[in-house]
């Protein structure tokens, strides 16, 4: 690592600097600026198609950025600075950086051919080269923590959506990430299952985890997030303290969006 000790605490966990992304001729991110401090929870809200998922995926380099810079933990994501040149990283090195960033998807994306426990220990064992015992012990602890201690040997398809999503969170946490990304983690769930997942996320936030959460749950955003950023048409239109953005938005487009989702 290039930064250490007291200096590390000053560097934001995520710093997006004029991040641009286009798919073909469609410009999806039009120069996004956003910082996420250590231990901070930032919720991204905004209409469908505004680029929230794409922005989140640029943070862990599932998408490459076309312009600007995405800094994660003091380093440009996907590149390495040598002298005054940025060298694109190879598969191995990108994977190593990704091990420090957990991601939770809307549709869980658990590995269906593995048991819950196997889902959790796969990456710690293959990517971090941990011993089976160490990984298993931590995995079982995390399953307890998300209230699924008795499901270790179950296959994902035998779990409810809410249970699957909690397994997905535990799977990401099993890598001991510094940063967690959530892409609409409750959007695919039946309403009565949303609460359990949000509870797990609340506990995680309370434990000091740095989190970036794309969500339509305005209650969660208001209560748990430190700041909320409103995306529209590939830009951050408004960003500020959660309470303020959700209850007293300044920008007309934010007001219109919030009025529509209520």
């Amino acid at each position: 690592m290039t930064v250490d000790g007291a200096a590390a605490d000053l560097v934001p966990m995520v710093r997006a600097e004029k991040v641009r992304k286009h798919f073909g001729r469609l410009e999806v991110l039009k120069g996004v600026d956003l910082e996420v401090q250590r231990g901070e929870v930032v919720c991204l809200i905004g209409p469908s198609g505004s680029g929230k998922s794409t922005f989140l995926r640029c943070i862990n380099h599932l998408e490459t950025v076309d312009g600007g810079r995405m800094w994660v933990d003091g380093q440009v994501m996907g590149y390495e600075q040598r002298g005054n040149k940025l060298h694109e990283l190879g598969d191995k090195e990108i994977c190593r950086r990704r091990t420090q960033i957990g991601m939770v998807f809307q549709h869980f994306n658990l590995f269906p051919h593995m048991t819950v426990l196997e889902n959790l220990v796969e990456a710690p064992r293959r990517a971090l080269k941990e011993s089976k015992d160490a990984a298993t012990e931590r995995a079982l602890g995390l399953l307890d923590q998300v209230g699924l201690g008795d499901k270790a040997q179950a296959y994902p398809r035998h779990l409810s959506g809410g249970q699957q999503q909690r397994v997905a969170i535990a799977r990401a946490l099993c890598m001991r990430p510094k940063l967690m990304l959530f892409d609409e983690p409750t959007s695919a769930l039946d309403p009565e299952l949303v609460g359990d997942v949000l509870t797990v996320m609340r506990d995680l936030a309370a434990s000091g985890m740095t989190m970036v959460v794309v969500t339509h749950e305005m209650g969660f955003a208001r209560e748990v997030a430190d700041r909320v950023a409103f995306f529209d048409a590939g830009q951050v239109v408004e960003v500020g303290p959660a309470q303020q953005v959700v209850t007293a938005p300044q920008h007309a487009r934010t007001k219109a969006f919030l009025a529509a989702v209520r």
């Binding site: 950086r97 990704r98 590995f111 990517a127």
Partner: protein, 312 residues
């Protein structure tokens, strides 16, 4: 008395009460079709065993003949080696077809087009006659010079011809399998920090197996039978061994029956094997397909459609 039909009974057992017997629905048509088919089968068998020209005593003698057994061994070896070559090269080609590099992609595409676009018998003859095209083989290595006639024995030509051809078909099967796995799986694996190779090996291919295994079983059975083509190269496989025998004793039909019986025995064993391999790879993904006994019981007892085990 009223002419209104009784309302549908929600629970037969409860509605029946203590003094009524439940009579399951009969299936007269099922029994009738089964009987007709059994009758046709019996007539066929009778003709087969009463026509002396089938030469069953000759069949019986040669069924355990040593040269037939050797031929069967060659057929089995050839099937195994060619399928192995086909599967390994097929996986490589499938991954190449999905590469981001357009040159790699096109190379695999051309390979598949060429081998699928020409008859395998023609390919076999090409390999067999390679020496006419390249009398010496150097593989571009300076100083190396191998006599093609000695290198390309009939067996080598057979393995190359059948194996390389099979790879083209297997690559399409593997590719379909890989594409059948949701995009989200690779993303989740990547986000966890697994490399592309680890993702392919640990996450994508195991799930693709569900789609890859059934047609691969069919390919293996097909390969077993296709190996009979190598008799044109005078490779002593099962068919060629039978041909050698009947060219001497003129018992053509009985010896072809002997070969057919052995082909059928092996394909039957392979089919059973395929069934259990499929069950193994269904792990965690869907309800297991019923065993043959379960199917039979189902057919005569319920209205339920026979589960095919292919539900999404």
């Amino acid at each position: 008395m009223t002419s209104l039909p009784a309302p549908p009974l929600p629970d037969i057992d409860k509605a029946a009460g203590p003094d009524l017997t439940v009579v399951p629905k009969r299936h007269p048509v099922r029994w009738l079709t089964a009987a007709v088919l059994l009758l046709i089968g019996a007539a066929t068998l009778r003709s087969v065993f009463t026509n002396p020209r089938f030469g069953w005593d000759v069949v019986n003698t040669y069924l355990r003949d040593i040269s037939i057994a050797r031929g069967l061994a060659v057929t089995l070896e050839l099937t195994a080696v060619c399928m192995l070559l086909g599967v390994v090269l097929g996986v490589v080609l499938a991954v190449m077809r999905l590469s981001v590099n357009p040159v790699v992609r096109s190379a695999a595409f051309l390979y598949v087009s060429f081998f699928r676009g020409t008859p395998v018998l023609v390919q076999l003859l090409f390999w067999y006659n390679l020496a006419a095209l390249y009398p010496t083989l150097s593989f571009g290595i300076p100083g190396l010079s191998l006599d093609a006639n000695r290198m390309i024995t009939p067996l080598v030509a057979a393995i190359l011809g059948l194996g390389l051809n099979e790879a083209a078909y297997m690559s399409e099967i593997v590719r379909a399998g890989i594409l059948s796995v949701e995009q989200g799986q690779a993303e989740a694996a990547g986000a966890l920090g697994l490399t592309r190779a680890q993702t392919m090996r640990r996450v994508i291919l195991p799930q693709a197996m569900r789609v890859i295994i059934p047609p691969t079983g069919n390919e293996t059975i097909g390969m077993l039978k296709t190996t009979a083509l190598v008799s044109v190269l005078a490779v002593p496989d099962l068919l060629y061994s039978a041909q050698i025998l009947y060219s001497r004793n003129f018992q053509t039909i009985p010896l072809l029956i002997v070969a057919s019986i052995w082909y059928m025995v092996v394909t039957s064993i392979l089919t059973i094997g395929q069934f259990y391999v499929e069950r193994r790879f269904a792990r965690g993904n869907r309800t297991l397909p019923p065993t043959p006994l379960q199917r039979l019981r189902q057919m005569f007892s319920t209205h339920a459609p026979i589960a095919t085990g292919r539900q999404p």
